[in-house]
């Protein structure tokens, strides 16, 4: 009976996923050609995908949908929320037997934004913690170049990756050559279902140079419950205009461990190449984690290295096939990690017209 229920859930998720893809496509086709002015109508955006993961010989099926509701009230107030539906299905005996599992539902953020001016934007509610590059910016399934999160992703994002409270963010200074951005937040402790968060305070400061497309930044967080610790991150991001390369690197430090990751993605989008190759993206990532004080809190207890190589193929700018191979190296065990699947980015208007 349980197996039947899981199978029905799994089928339901697949149908919803295909329906979203179809509706996004139909909506695009129905858009009026005469509407060229920016509209401010509510929408559901987000990503969906299906990943077949094999980690150390154990296969896992992971269908996912992450719809983002974006609801503007005028041009200065925005309500936005992202919910994650991810299924984890593994074989009964890990490598044999029927697939079993469940679908996890998580409200990742639900926030009200007030876009006061360039220097101040106030965010209230449940928001993603702005720590490093990954949690707030690269986590969505359709954005990440490699599907597995970096080993250091849990540093600065305890306990749920989100905070409940208030965040201020904005641009400190902006010139033609550089932009300085900040965010500062305080989060209250919460154990309410779907609103789980820890008592933390922190912020992020980054400088972006638009001409070379280079960004350097740092994040800091004070964990204010239980064992009070500091977490910090330093990161760089570079997308040189003359090359279709995306390079990102981050170093994270906490009481429980420290480590780095370095990722490079190269899109072969050049007119001189055959069309088949122009849709290919090659990705590589190297990372290393050194546990401190026994590790824990999402970090492995022993030193771990990992290398990943991936090839993504963009069928369209919103639909891509992905594949990757990774090798995890530690004194406990070495393991191969494979990922195969696809991701899709959708955007569905929830109202007609709404031209500005």
């Amino acid at each position: 009976m349980l197996l039947l229920r899981q199978t029905v859930k799994y089928q339901y998720l697949s149908i919803v996923l295909l329906g979203l893809m179809a509706s996004g496509r139909l909506t695009s086709q129905n858009a009026s050609d005469s509407e060229l002015t920016a509209g401010h109508v509510p929408m559901i955006s987000g990503g969906a995908g299906y990943i077949y993961n094999v980690n150390g010989g154990v296969p896992t099926l992971e269908p996912q949908i992450n719809p983002v509701l974006v609801f503007p009230f005028g041009q200065h107030v925005l309500l936005e929320s992202r919910t994650d539906f991810t299924g984890f299905f593994q074989r009964e005996n890990q490598t044999s037997g029927p697939y079993k599992g469940k679908v996890f539902k998580t409200v990742e953020y639900a926030q009200l934004d007030w876009l006061a001016n360039t220097h101040v934007m106030a965010v209230a509610g449940k928001y993603l913690l702005p720590f490093g590059l990954y949690n707030e910016r690269l986590e969505p399934i359709w954005i990440r170049n490699l599907q597995d999160s970096p080993l250091t992703a849990t540093i600065g994002t305890r306990t749920s990756g989100a905070g409940d409270g208030l965040m201020l963010r904005g641009v400190v200074t902006q010139t033609a050559n550089l932009t300085t951005q900040y965010s500062a937040y305080f989060s209250a402790r919460s154990g309410i279902k779907q609103l789980e968060s820890a008592r933390t305070a922190g912020g992020d400061l980054s400088v972006f140079f638009p001409r070379p497309r280079f960004e350097i930044g740092a994040s800091w967080q004070r964990f204010l419950q239980g064992h009070r610790v500091n977490n910090s991150a330093t990161y760089v991001s570079w997308q040189p205009a003359a090359a279709k390369v995306d390079i990102k690197a981050e170093y994270d430090y906490s009481y429980y461990g420290h480590g780095y990751w370095l990722e490079s993605a190269y899109r072969l989008d050049y007119p001189s190449l055959p069309k088949l190759f122009r849709k290919v993206q090659a990705v590589g990532r190297i990372q290393e984690l050194f546990p401190l004080n026994g590790g824990g809190n999402g970090l492995p207890p022993i030193r771990t290295e990992r290398v990943d190589f991936g090839v993504n193929y963009y069928l369209r700018d919103d639909l891509r096939l992905l594949s990757s191979y990774g090798r995890s190296l530690s004194s406990a065990q070495n393991a191969n990690v494979w990922n195969l699947g696809f991701t899709y980015r959708f955007m569905i208007p929830l109202w007609f017209g709404g031209k500005r």
């Binding site: 920016a38 401010h40 983002v68 974006v70 359709w142 951005q181 965010s183 390079i247 700018d317």
Partner: protein
């Protein structure tokens, strides 16, 4: 063996930069389509184009098309997510929906 893998990966970054610079820029990256082409361009379209290319690519591949009625909503959303200035918002609106 481990060290060899690490060295191979570290070589990946300069190699990809070198290959990238060795190729001539061009291709399909440019203005996202609004399902129709506009014959007139606002004066700050170039600025908007730079803001679009520079800021979108910081996190993801720039989308090649928008549904017009959600363009303003998308840019508001990205203003919060990417901490863009009001000036950037206006430049993007001029570029994408002149």
């Amino acid at each position: 063996m481990k060290l060899r893998v690490v060295h191979a990966c570290l070589l990946l970054v300069p190699l990809s930069v070198f290959i990238g610079f060795a190729q001539k820029p061009g291709g399909t990256a440019g203005k996202p389509q609004q399902r129709a082409t506009s014959s007139s361009r606002a004066p700050s379209t170039d600025e908007g184009g730079l803001v679009f290319k520079a800021n979108c690519s910081r996190c993801h591949a720039a989308p090649m098309s928008f549904t017009p009625r959600t363009t303003g909503t998308v840019i508001m959303h990205m203003r919060v997510r990417a901490t863009l200035s009001q000036q950037d918002e206006q430049a993007l609106l001029t570029f994408i929906a002149p």
